[in-house]
């Protein structure tokens, strides 16, 4: 059973990202949306934590949310659009939104 974890809160305001990474299964993926894309801010602690997990092709971010915040995923996360978001939600067995 694989899960796509969808985050939408800033990693600087609460522990959702840390909790998510603690629960993340080996075949699970993370999608950063809204303020959660701030986790990719260069030089930040959340970005360091994400890099450490070596998620490679299992870390995604919504492209328009990156653009709106001028965040460059710079090789760490794959920027996706909404049709790709829909495809991701199908590729994984469940979608868990960290509301």
């Amino acid at each position: 059973m694989t899960t796509l974890h969808v985050l939408s809160h800033s990693p600087f305001g609460d522990n959702r990202l840390a909790s998510c990474l603690r629960l993340l299964g080996n075949a699970d993926a993370v999608l950063l949306t809204g303020d959660a894309v701030y986790a990719l801010q260069p030089g930040s602690e959340p970005r360091r934590q994400l890099s450490e997990r070596r998620l490679a092709t299992r870390l995604f971010a919504l492209e328009e949310d990156l653009q709106a915040r001028a965040i460059d995923p710079a090789g760490l996360a794959l920027a996706i659009d909404y049709p790709a978001f829909v495809e991701l939600s199908i590729r994984f067995d469940k979608v868990n939104s960290w509301l």
């Binding site: 939408s8 809160h9 829909v86 939600s89």
Partner: protein
């Protein structure tokens, strides 16, 4: 693929618009939406009284148009709506309130509708936050 989509945020939150764009992309991709469920502050996304500033996207109007255009089953949680003052004609009369702000195509119903949608759909996708 059958989707159930639950919205937990009001129309002025970016996540309400994200839910709308996801729903549009799902239909455009040939998928089916078995139900949209508006819960907690998400009930405000269905309010007919929202006035959006002219230089901003009118997300509540876009939701209404999307639901109407595709004839979708759009359910607003009745308990969450009542406590937030989102009332249809029947509830406004029942509780003797002067204002009605939940016109068609929205429908007030219970949380059981979310449970049922989750059983019927292949995927339940929830939207909330910022």
């Amino acid at each position: 693929m059958k989707f159930a989509i639950a919205v937990f945020s009001p129309a002025h939150a970016p996540s309400s618009r994200r839910a709308l764009l996801f729903a549009q992309a799902a239909l455009a991709g040939g998928h089916e939406i078995v139900r949209l469920f508006f819960y907690q502050d998400g009930v405000h996304s269905a309010s007919g009284n929202i006035v959006t500033p002219q230089d901003e996207q009118d997300v509540p109007a876009q939701w209404r148009e999307f639901v109407t255009q595709h004839g979708l089953d759009a359910v607003v949680c009745i308990a969450a709506a009542l406590r937030r003052g989102v009332l249809d004609e029947q509830e406004a009369q029942r509780y003797q309130r002067t204002a009605v702000n939940l016109p068609a195509p929205w429908e007030l119903s219970g949380l059981g509708q979310l449970h049922e949608a989750a059983q019927v759909a292949d995927r339940l996708v929830c939207f909330g936050g910022n």
